[in-house]
């Protein structure tokens, strides 16, 4: 009962607070949030709400192939955005593709956060040689471009696991690769905030009480350093999706059986100059709008959460 009251209370506090106020007054952010929600929900419920199932070979008809979007002359009304070379409905492939892109993006960000926050907390709290070591590893990693790191991990995985099994675990390898290239920013931010917090008296009070360092780090310091992390994470989702799209475009991302937006763009690219522009342009636009909306939200969140700007 008390827990329920706490939850209701938290909601009430949120809607009473400055962040919601800032949100209400920002039409661009509201539009971006709606767009992002449409994209995410559309992707999440794709298997149920997509007009066609692009992976069910029985429903595909080669005669439907290369149909332009529904509003143009030769378009077929049931394929709103046209079809690709195999007769798959582009809208449905976009919805399913977004699903893969979002899953990879969000999981990669989540993994990144967990690793980055933990290392940042330990680095900032313990200090000394542990701090120096972790930060040097971070520095070294930052001198490599993220894409290269992801390519490297992917390449190693392919070599180690072998081609046949690789397709099954490709998504996990991809998530791991993107996460590995992204943890540093969380670690650095959290380390900075931890260095500030650990000198505050509430941490000393917990030490006097006799709590162990690990407990202090995660129960006392962590809630106080999470603010900037949310902003980073929101922006990172956009980057992660683009990284995944790039890798898939290059052919080293998700396997062709689970196409993501990147794969779709690559596949459609081949047909761009023969006139069937919709096969690559629509997935491209979907990617752009999805990432753009998320970035707008992330930008706004950073300013809304910054106490100095309020």
């Amino acid at each position: 009962m008390a827990a329920l009251i706490n939850v209701v209370d938290s909601f009430r506090r949120f809607f009473d607070g400055d962040v919601w106020y800032s949100f209400k007054r920002n039409p661009l952010v509201i539009v971006a949030t709606v767009a992002a929600l449409i994209g995410i929900l559309g992707a999440a419920f794709a298997p149920w709400i997509a007009p066609h199932n692009p992976f069910d070979l029985k429903t595909l008809n080669l005669l439907d192939a290369f149909s332009p979007p529904a509003w143009s002359e030769l378009g077929k009304p049931q394929f709103w955005l046209g079809t690709d070379d195999q007769g798959r409905d582009v809208l449905s492939t976009i919805m399913h593709g977004s699903r893969v892109s979002l899953v990879v993006g969000i999981c990669a960000v989540f993994l990144s956060m967990v690793v980055g926050i933990t290392l940042g907390l330990i680095s900032g709290y313990v200090g000394g040689s542990v701090d120096a070591f972790i930060m040097r590893v971070a520095d070294i990693q930052l001198s490599f471009p993220a894409i290269l790191i992801a390519l490297l991990i992917d390449g190693v995985a392919r070599a180690v696991i072998g081609k046949e099994h690789h397709d099954q675990v490709a998504v996990y390898v991809l998530i791991f690769a993107i996460a590995a290239s992204g943890w540093v920013q969380y670690a650095r931010t959290v380390r900075g905030s931890t260095l500030v917090e650990r000198n505050k008296e509430y941490v000393q009070a917990a030490q006097v009480i006799g709590r162990r360092s690990l407990a202090i780090m995660f129960s006392h310091v962590l809630p106080n350093v999470m603010g900037p992390v949310f902003v980073l994470a929101t922006l990172h989702v956009g980057t992660a999706i683009i990284t995944e799209a790039t890798l898939s475009f290059l052919g080293v991302g998700v396997p062709p059986t689970q196409p993501s937006l990147g794969t779709l763009i690559r596949v459609g690219n081949d047909f761009l100059f023969s006139g069937e522009w919709w096969i690559t342009v629509f997935p491209g636009l979907a990617l752009v709008f999805l990432v753009l909306s998320i970035n707008i939200i992330g930008d706004w969140l950073r300013d809304a959460l910054n106490p100095k700007l309020r």
């Binding site: 505050k200 509430y202 000393q204 009070a205 006097v208 009480i209 006799g210």
Partner: protein
């Protein structure tokens, strides 16, 4: 003498704390600098009896806050020992140490930074109880938290609120409630009222005195404000640049300060009663603790300093008027004793 000994709750013996504030190794090599050691506390000894309040008073850089943290175990002494109820803190480990920790608590100066912003007040107060295994989450715990809140003058309903919903004085009350929750015998108070307004300070000081009476608490009270110290302490210790220069009963310290630094501190108190007292303006400023003066740390500012003062560091010696003083001038009876109006 033996009876008194068992009455001693805290026994600090020749405690010192050094901090290495040297620049990083590479810088030192390149700039050809020596290692720099900051002697924050340089050989301090005192005792506190059960049920009494000892105040440590001094200006910035005197090391009183460091002493507070040493007593609480936040720092380990570079030298010397601290005995709590007969047990050497450095030797206690594991379970013994944990049980010991339940018996003392600390209250901090900054009411804003001493409470975790993200925790509800009830959780903050309950933490010592849970950590020391004195209770389990549930209605009994909530009741106890409510009791503690009432004892410090707040309402049990305040347990659901966050710290930022309270004023500075109220937050300090929450700090006190947290400190009391593990039923400690000993509280270390590091400038608990310095950040508060005068009227709020009066409330908190009265509260602390009431709680001391009710629960038989022992206080180590750190402050730079002599007037506050005169109200709350039984005994006062005056510190300067990491050393104790005088310790005595409150009455003796304020009516007959013996050490020249204590005398100067007294005369520096603003004259609220407007008696138009003439002061000897205090000369100079507290020297850089990284390069303390030789011999007696106070000699550059002392009107009575002689050659011996520049060479030899004075020891704390008992004085017939009560308490102890560390001053060659007092020992050699060179300094006139001033009796101030009570």
């Amino acid at each position: 003498m033996n009876q008194k000994k068992s009455n001693i709750l805290l026994d600090v013996r020749d405690v010192a704390k050094e901090f290495d504030v040297s620049k990083p190794w590479l810088n030192r090599i390149i700039e050809r600098q020596d290692k720099q050691i900051l002697k924050a506390v340089d050989g301090v000894s005192f005792t506190i009896n059960r049920g009494e309040t000892l105040s440590l008073v001094g200006e910035s850089g005197c090391g009183k806050s460091t002493v507070a943290r040493l007593v609480c175990g936040l720092y380990t002494p570079s030298r010397g020992s601290i005995h709590f109820d007969g047990v050497d803190m450095a030797e206690a480990e594991g379970d013994t140490l944990r049980k010991l920790r339940a018996r003392f608590q600390m209250i901090f100066q900054d009411p804003y930074a001493s409470l975790n912003q993200r925790w509800r007040v009830g959780k903050i107060i309950a933490e010592p109880i849970l950590v020391h295994g004195l209770g389990k989450p549930g209605s009994a715990l909530n009741k106890r938290v409510g009791e503690l809140l009432t004892q410090v003058g707040l309402s049990p309903l305040d347990a659901e609120k966050f710290p930022h919903e309270f004023s500075g004085g109220q937050r300090q009350r929450v700090s006190i409630a947290r400190a009391l929750s593990s039923n400690p015998e000993f509280l270390v108070c590091d400038e608990p009222t310095s950040a508060l307004d005068v009227s709020v300070q009066a409330q908190i000081l009265n509260l602390m005195k009431d709680l001391q009476r009710e629960f038989g608490l022992t206080y180590l009270f750190i402050s730079h404000n002599l007037a506050v110290v005169s109200h709350i302490s039984n005994r006062v210790g005056v510190m300067y640049l990491g050393r104790l220069v005088e310790v005595a009963d409150t009455n003796r310290i304020f009516t007959m300060p013996l050490h020249p630094y204590t005398q100067m501190l007294q005369s520096a108190i603003p004259d609220l009663k407007m008696t138009g007292k003439q002061r000897t303006p205090v000369a100079g400023e507290v020297p850089n603790p990284l390069t303390p003066p030789t011999g007696c740390a106070f000699h550059p500012r002392c009107p009575h300093a002689n050659e011996r003062c520049k060479r030899e560091r004075p020891e704390m010696i008992d004085h017939p008027e009560g308490g102890q003083v560390a001053c060659h001038g007092v020992e050699e009876k060179r300094i006139n004793m001033i009796k101030l109006a009570a």
